[in-house]
């Protein structure tokens, strides 16, 4: 449920107010500065330390991990010219993914989906500011999703060092978006397991599992739709700070969001189908119980009645001929058995004819 919550200020608060948000990990600012030939990486003690790197020809990546305290954010904002509404959004988690263009930079909010230790979906907000030669990224968790990118930068793998901050943004977005694929694979396996269970031996705890799964898929879908729009806007847009060569790569990343959404929708339909099959199999079982009960009851209730009749004590009145003459007839008992067996046979024949057996 936590994933469906949004942090908010009380109505009437002035816009751009920065809240103090507890951070799971100690906040840390890491700066990476690179050109095709040069690479420098350091951890900043204070935001002001990044000043010498700004405005240079090199590409600068400022990576803020954990929820930075308001004064640090404010100072970063002042140094890098970030808009106060955007800074507010970095801390107010629970946003939808969005792309906002300001005069000098682009602000992107995305979501990184992961599974936590109890296999529940956890969605982490990741924010980016992109300007010429500068990328600032913010994320709150201890895990380091961007480590492979830093490796590629350090070891000069692929194109990363040769391009500017826009290609770096693409590389980071690609990491964020592609995190959904292993997730979807695990959902696919859970659905497959549920299918086997439903079609073979439906148990009641399926309901809880299905409900859980639907909720996570709903969350994933909510997360992915705006993400798709953000990437569409990025690659089709006429953003100054994005080079034409990069748009081809952004289109590829957009394609991934389309495929993710397509899978999420397919899984949603399959889970809905599963639930229907489960409910139908409940109906089937009810029918089966009912049929068995009806057959047994319909067979034995009339017979029990007959037995009950001849268990009456009218025969004690030995003076009246009317007092249960059947009891006095020598062949009464076998005749009654014959009657009862006859009734049962007729019943069974009728059941057979109506395909109840």
């Amino acid at each position: 449920m936590r994933a469906f919550r949004k942090r908010y200020h009380p109505p009437g608060t002035a816009p751009g107010t920065l809240a103090v948000v507890a951070s799971e990990v100690p906040p840390q600012i890491r700066l990476i500065d690179y050109t095709p030939t040069h690479y420098e990486e350091k951890v900043l003690g204070a935001p002001a330390e990044c000043a010498p790197f700004l405005g240079a020809e090199s590409t600068t990546w400022i990576d803020v991990q954990g929820n930075a305290p308001p004064d640090v954010l404010r100072e970063l904002g002042r140094l890098l010219n970030l808009h106060s509404l955007a800074l507010e959004d970095i801390l107010n988690k629970g946003q939808q993914a969005k792309l906002e263009e300001y005069d000098e930079h682009v602000f992107v909010v995305m979501h990184l989906p992961t599974l936590d230790e109890s296999d529940a979906l956890r969605v982490e907000q990741v924010s980016f500011f992109l300007a010429r030669g500068l990328l600032v990224s913010f994320y709150g968790q201890a895990q380091e999703p961007f480590e492979p990118i830093r490796q590629r930068l350090r070891k000069r793998i692929g194109r990363l060092r040769k391009h500017g901050s826009d290609y770096l943004l693409y590389a980071l977005l690609d990491v964020v978006v592609d995190h959904a694929f292993p997730l979807l694979e695990s959902y696919g396996e859970r659905i497959e397991a549920l299918e086997d269970e439903v079609l073979e031996q439906p148990r009641q705890d399926i309901l809880t599992k299905v409900y859980q799964l639907r909720r996570e898929l709903l969350l994933l879908r909510r997360m992915c739709w705006p993400q798709r729009d953000v990437l569409n806007d990025l690659f089709r847009g006429d953003c100054d700070c994005i080079e034409p060569e990069t748009t081809l790569f952004l289109r590829d990343c957009y394609d991934h969001t389309v495929q993710i959404l397509d899978l999420v929708e397919a899984y949603r339909e399959m889970v809905a189908g599963l639930l229907e099959v489960y409910l139908s199999s409940l109906s089937n079982r009810l029918n089966e119980s009912m049929r068995l009960l009806t057959i047994i009851a319909t067979l034995f209730i009339p017979l029990t009645f007959i037995a009950g009749v001849y268990g009456m004590n009218f025969g004690n009145n030995t003076e009246s001929w009317w007092a249960m003459p059947e009891l006095r007839w020598a062949y009464g008992y076998p005749a009654i058995w014959a009657l009862m067996i006859g009734i049962a046979a007729v019943m069974l024949y009728l059941f057979k004819r109506n395909k109840w057996l």
Copy 2:
């Protein structure tokens, strides 16, 4: 249900007719006039008292609380050049949120959602006229949603005093829109509580709660969709009286409506899912009762029949060999017990094999 009603004139009434609407609070007109350096606040006895403030350089905010009587409205309309159709809409509550551009002003209808004392959703219509240097606001209830704004004006907090009537409109719209967040939080908690109840111990009053919740979410959704459109039109529009700097803030406010709608839709899906789980668990319980009944009945009905047979009084006829010879057999009674226990054992084995037990 009241929230789904609309006030209307009988068909055929002339357009612009103003009705007398009972007011929960005594109507009151409050005027605030400010520049960055100057601030004045007074309660007006009659609409005409606002005349000296009009046309000046300062920004004037006329705040009408409670349902003003028709003649007061008409005089205000005449003084400030408001269109008669718009004046009619102020009193005819139950409108959808809308934005109407007239020659000299913009007319905005919004809704302020609150929870009343019995925790039911209450939607209050709030209307605004925006012109250069002038904002007129109307709302009908005793609560003072705009008090924080007045505080910020009085104490010069944030940007409010430095901007014109368009920024004031933004600040008020932001208050109106953000009132949905605490509401959504309370709905989120109610859904969470219902979830626990449904998955652990479903009771019948869940139905009533779910129905209530769905209805409120339906109402909220109906309220929010047009609100989103209004804000979209405001920030994308080319309204004369809105400065370019303000549009960034209106976009932020629009973003909030998008997030609210997104949460409302997610909640609606979750409530629908809850209902399905509840119904499935009813089916499950029915199956369980049925299975127990069937097992008991199928076990004991045949046995009772056998007992009934040997309760028949044919044995009284001591002269006939055919009269229940079993009764006369020395080991008849234990043999019957053996038969009955045998039948029960076979039944239990069959139940076991078919996974009924």
Copy 3:
């Protein structure tokens, strides 16, 4: 069901063929001719009598009540230059609302919803031809929906006399559209009553009521969607014969159709919700019956079996020790009672533990 029917000619009939349609009221043509200072009203014996009023500076309103016979229609059409396809549509009821622009006039088909004596929805087609200085209206029923407009014309209330035929069209459309509001109020009340009934004491006739309601709301929705489009086209369109000042009023009327549709959709969702609650409460009741039955049966069937066992007559064989020795034991009877009470107690405890009681 009648409301879902459309009159049609056999396939292959030439277009513009006018059918003879039985009229509930005797057809009558009424002419009103007015300027701001002048007003004349008369009932025409024959269409030709309207000729002197045509082409003058004044505004002429020809109001045809009842289904006029084909020759009268044809003559009207010839006099006023009306297109034959439009004339055909006046008689072929069951159209959707539509706006058709011809060279010299605009043809509008709308629907007037009313409740008939048995509270069922009745939809009456109303058609208009608008040209400069001329409005022709057609409607088939005895009721006089336009009487308030004639009153306003006669008594010079509001703007009507000061504007031309386009404003008159607006006034009539406003009457037609606003007829839905009292209807919706009555539906709102019916839904409220059904709600109370469903949540408190659901009875079987609710199904019929819900089905009826859904059908009427479906009909209303079918009627209102095209009506909204017609008004949208009218106020956004660039129709020659509509003055700019009138468009503000048409926008207001369009707004009403939007609100009506919004209410209809909300009511439809609420009725659908009601049905679901009703069905769930049926499931609940079934569960309750089932549980009671299962408890009673599970308690007493085993006990009855025990009683049946000791009702067997093996004890009559007094020579065999095996013949029901329990019967001969002095404390057999109280022991059996103890056994039966014990079994019942265990059963009750099990029910309690499984929350069946």
Copy 4:
């Protein structure tokens, strides 16, 4: 099911391949050539016989009935310059309605819905080629839907003879489209009959009827949607061979398709509603049976148990005081009756209080 099939060539067949399709009626080519003053009608032995009529001032209508053999089609195509892909589509039934513009002609595929002898929906493909002064029509069945048009041409009824091939196309399309109206009327009646049945005395064969109806409405809807688009394109399009005066008539025809679709959708919703009502009434009946069973069982099972207790034979042991002393008590029997009647009364009172009776 046949109506949901499409004829197709094996994948990989060259485009424009003409298949031999068995024809229900012997193929026949009929030619009609007319001007306002002249009319000629003949049956062609071979396609080549139409050559003299082509290129003249008159309007020529070539009407091909039955599935023509491939060589006849190919020759027609060569003579009249028809595209091979279009010729292929004439024989590959099961197309969707479509409008295709080629250089010199327009190709239109439509569907004629009829009811066959067993009242099942049958959809017949009708294809048209329209060029200046030329209309070629193809349909496969024995019935002659276009006979009324030939009558109007022969007898000079209406405008037909005065206009060109575009108006003729309109007249034929109008026939095709209007064939849906009598069909819809019959569906309306079937729905009405089903409604009465469902609300009064639901029987099981309703399911089959509803399923049949839904399927036919689905088929009709699938057929009508593209038909609407075709007519929309025709009347809005800028097709060379369609005169401006004809577009007004095509708009009228488009209007009919809109009304047909609207009715189909309304009927579909009503049938869905019917099914829901039927299912609810099944639930109701189940509840009713269940309640009756529960009441009877709950009343009599405890009483039968009591009777069973006093049917036990412990009383035979006349030596023990503990052996059923009740039997020896003089008022035992009436006391037991009193007990049983008391229990029944309490039960009935409880049922009454819980509104089960």
Copy 5:
């Protein structure tokens, strides 16, 4: 389930990385080079062997079967100037169909649907690069879907040899798209068989079949939607390498995708309808069992109670007049029979009146 999976690289992998994918068939590169007069076909040992054919006037078709190893792909890419992101997509199966325009070529991904040996849907990705005079196709499976095209090329059937690589692309796309028709026919037959089964003798394994069918139709729909968009873009687009004459053929192919989708949607609705009918028939059967049980129980339970009463042993107390005087009455036994028959008759009459029988 496999069909709902997508191959992906771990998040953070550099774009354009080519994976080694196991190939079901040994990879093979086949080259066909043709002009209207000349035809050459050879199997290439290495990609470099195609170099002499490039840039010539003739049309070259390079057909890569099986999953080529990364280095072969990379060399092909370098020779033919293919973009690395596109090459990556060839191996990452599970894409959606798409059309991507690069500077010198167009990249198309499509899906070939087939039924595997166990009649389950199998979807094979097919990729194409189209450039002036060059077509490269990739597919992974052993089957040879394009053999008919090669036959038409070799034997000069139809237009193929006279047109360029764009017409060849059309021919291949047509093969890919038309593979859905035999599939749909087989689905149609399965639905028809299920229908008969559901309406006549519903069995439980229908659920599994329906679930299977729905899933395959879901997969087919997911596959066809983007395919339709690709063809739409191709025939409407302004792609340099597609000649105007070819667009008519692409439109025909687009038409086929529209018809396929239309059938898929219709089948999906029919399967959904089937499931509803099946569930309703379960409800019906439950009702039937219940009614039978209720009738039998309601008839015999009271009678069994009466029999039980007169099986009580109070009559043994011969000294008390109150001890079951009925037993001592001469006509007691026939009177009891009369009572029981009377009760049964009344019950049956009541059942009859309430239409239970």
